[in-house]
């Protein structure tokens, strides 16, 4: 049994990671960096799951399973995202999202 107060540290790290990810997602123009930011957000969520599972329902495994799911989905998502990035590069000779804004009104 771990000291319950420690959950706050873990949640702090998770929140920090999340906001770093959000910040990165909004400020970077490079699609690869934005993908990395999304991964950060996902991992912050993973941390949350682990922490709550560990400290609140340590006799259950739901949080762990969710985490594994998310990792798997993140891997798939990365594959799709990279495919998109490659296609974007092929059509625009750039992976700057500001350059790809034809789909508008």
């Amino acid at each position: 049994m771990i000291e319950p107060g420690l959950i706050y540290h873990m949640l702090f790290i998770s929140a920090t990671l999340f906001f770093i990810g959000v910040y990165g997602f909004f400020t970077r123009r490079n699609l690869v960096t934005m993908l990395m930011s999304v991964e950060l957000i996902l991992n912050s969520v993973n941390l949350n799951f682990i922490a709550f599972n560990k400290y609140l329902w340590y006799d259950k495994l739901d949080g762990l399973f969710f985490t594994i799911f998310i990792i798997a989905i993140a891997a798939a998502e990365a594959a799709v995202a990279i495919a998109i990035i490659i296609n974007l590069y092929r059509s625009h000779q750039s992976i700057d999202v500001e350059k790809a804004e034809e789909m508008k009104f």
Binding site: F26, V97, E98, A100, E101, E102, M103, K104, F105
Partner: protein
């Protein structure tokens, strides 16, 4: 009881012709369409004659009275118990008589058109329209339901519109067909309201039931219809007057006659068929169909019919004396003769000897169909030869058009009421009926018959005598066998139809009516007719200045008549000046500013809103992500603080 199948065939064959020629004519029957239409109608005519023979001589009579048989009745649209629109066939003396007249005249016109319209670009279309018209007119006369008659009534109007506007590249024809359609349509509104009033009070749309309930003074329906009154006139009378307005529009009665002279823009055979012999008598037929109700329950409405008819007859005869376009003369003459039929109905009573006017009216309808169709077809032959409608271009044609000349003369004698031609007998009966019941109308009719003789022989002498014809058309022939045969057949009809003892077959109550000629009585009209002929001969047989002198000495009335008593101008004034300015312009203003304004405001506001919000759709991924984030934050706040 007759077999309904072949009576239905009479009507459906022309419809089949219309559909076949209308859809496939231009592609497959370019040259044969005339023969197809004529053959179908020939079969129709034979069946109509067979029906007439069967009805009049075999099964029609029960105890000496001709019955109203309904061999076919199919409920088409049921409104409530008892009130339904049926598609049915009614077989009674007038419908059988009309079947024969319409199919026979139509057949003559079909045959004639084979020659007259030969080489026309839209030959199949022409025959398709003729088929449509014949179908509608035959359907009209056998209608067993007042709404059915209205449907066919409108169909007849449409086919008339199509045929008047047949030469659609001629602006005057386009104007004429629009005028005819609008004027008759306007009158038909009255007809429709009349139908609604009559059916509301009688609780039925079926002719036989409607006539039965509205003529029996004991029935509740009758009492209701008489008890309710508007402007001092009972609802029943209003209904019948409104129905008569519809009939007056179709039959070109004053003051709704203005479309008929212009309708002469159509091909001449069409004028013979529609605007002389068949469609324009639809109004007379309608009044005759409802005659028991008019005569028994609403004598006021019937006397209105009488006076409108008499006024139309006189006015049209006066105008006809001054017109120079031969087809227009014939058009006004038609209007005048229909006026005769109308007032003959108007002075008639129901039943027995008193119903002479009814028989006379139908008799005149029958004989008039013969000689007026003949006159128009003859005029068509003349126009075909001369290529002009104006009298001044004609003269001396008797040498070049011998057949036309003789047949035209027979028709003129018939319409002028010279014994023993057909018109004499029917006109005598009408005058006798008028003499017995209404002296004012009798005198009007007598004057009109003198005028009729005058203007018809003015026409005859101007075309066939007067000056010598130019030789420039001498190489042309009179028109082929197709054009001559109808003329001869109709001439036989116009000469001999008067000997049919019409009263034996058609009378107001179905009984046998003996009509006899009173020699003393015939002296006045025949003498007047002969006087008219002699005056016309004196003025027009040789080219002279006499017509101009006479016209000058009657300058006031001549000018008024020449300008058709300014009725067209009055209509133009009322529509262009009054209606357009008082109703048209305000309505246009409301339409432009309020109705359009509302629609435009909706459109504009939608556009403005979308202009302002379209910036959201920027195409930038990160901006979308921001909306997403804001949305998530909003939802989170909602769940945390408000979704307890």
């Amino acid at each position: 009881m007759p077999n309904a199948t072949y009576i239905t065939l009479i009507i459906l064959l022309p419809l089949a012709g219309f559909l076949m020629l209308g859809i496939f004519g231009r592609k497959y029957f370019k040259n044969t369409s005339g023969m197809i239409g004529t053959t179908l109608l020939f079969v129709s005519t034979l069946l109509a004659l067979y029906t007439a023979y069967g009805y009049f001589f075999e099964y029609g009579k029960v105890d000496g009275i001709y019955q109203k048989l309904v061999p076919l009745k199919y409920t088409w649209l049921q409104f409530s118990p008892g009130v339904s629109i049926d598609m049915g066939i009614i077989i009674d003396p007038i419908s059988v008589m009309m079947l024969v007249v319409v199919s026979f005249i139509s057949l003559m016109v079909h045959i004639y058109s084979l020659g007259y319209m030969k080489g026309d670009e839209r030959f199949p279309t022409y025959y398709a329209f003729l088929g449509l018209f014949t179908f509608s007119m035959l359907g009209l006369v056998i209608s067993s339901n007042i709404f059915q008659i209205y449907i066919f009534w409108e169909l007849v109007g449409v086919s008339s519109f199509l045929l008047i506007g047949y030469y659609y590249d001629k602006p005057s024809a386009v104007a004429a067909c629009k005028k005819a359609f609008i004027v008759t349509r306007f009158a038909d509104v009255g007809f429709l309201i009349g139908i609604l009033i009559l059916s509301f009070y009688s609780g039925t749309l079926d002719f036989n039931t409607l006539i039965a309930t509205l003529t029996s003074p004991e029935s509740n329906e009758y009492k209701n219809a008489v008890a309710v009154s508007f402007l001092g006139v009972s609802a029943l009378t209003w209904g019948l007057v409104l129905v008569f307005i519809g009939g007056a529009g179709k039959s070109a009665m004053f003051p709704l006659h203005i479309w008929l002279p212009d309708a002469m823009e159509g091909p001449t055979p069409v004028s013979a068929l529609i605007h002389a012999a068949t469609m324009v008598v639809a109004g007379v037929f309608l009044v005759a169909r409802l005659f028991p109700v008019f005569a028994i329950s609403a004598p006021d409405a019937l006397s209105l019919v009488g006076y409108v008819g008499a006024i139309s007859a006189l006015i049209a005869a006066v105008i006809a004396c001054t017109q120079t376009d031969i087809k227009r003369v014939l058009a006004y003459s038609t209007m005048s003769q229909i006026g005769y039929m109308m007032f003959a109905l108007g002075v008639s009573k129901y039943g027995g000897e008193e119903g002479l006017g009814y028989t006379a009216s139908m008799f005149h309808l029958f004989t008039h169909a013969m000689f007026k169709a003949l006159l128009f077809l003859g005029a068509g032959a003349v126009i075909h030869y001369i290529h002009s409608n104006e009298m001044k271009d004609m003269g001396g044609l008797r040498k070049y058009l011998p057949v036309t000349h003789i047949t035209f003369l027979i028709a003129c004698l018939a319409i002028a009421g010279v014994p023993p031609f057909a018109g004499f007998f029917s006109k005598e009966e009408i005058l006798l009926a008028a003499f017995q019941h209404n002296p004012i109308i009798y005198w009007i009719a007598l004057i009109t018959s003198g005028l009729t003789a005058f203007y018809m022989f003015r026409l005859y002498f101007s075309i066939f005598w007067n000056k010598e014809a130019d030789q420039h058309d001498a190489h042309k022939s009179e028109g082929g066998f197709a054009m001559m045969m109808p003329l001869v057949l109709l001439a036989i009809g116009a000469a001999a139809a008067g000997f049919i003892p019409f009263g034996h077959f058609v009378s107001s109550d179905g009984t046998r009516l003996e009509t006899e000629l009173h020699l003393q009585f015939s002296i006045a009209p025949v003498a007047l007719g002969l006087a008219g002929i002699l005056i016309a001969m004196w003025m027009y047989k040789k080219e002279s200045t006499k017509p101009d002198t006479v016209a000058a000495s009657l300058s006031g009335i001549y000018n008024a008549a020449y300008h058709k008593f300014y009725i067209d101008d009055i209509y133009l004034f009322i529509t262009k000046k009054a209606l357009f300015n008082l109703i048209g312009r305000p309505a246009a203003w409301i339409d432009k500013n309020i109705v359009d304004g509302l629609v435009n405001a909706t459109g504009n506001s939608t556009r403005d809103i979308s202009e302002t919000i379209k910036g959201f759709q920027s195409g930038k991924v990160q901006q979308y992500a921001i909306y997403f984030l804001v949305g998530i934050i909003g939802l989170a706040l909602l769940f945390i603080y408000f979704w307890k």
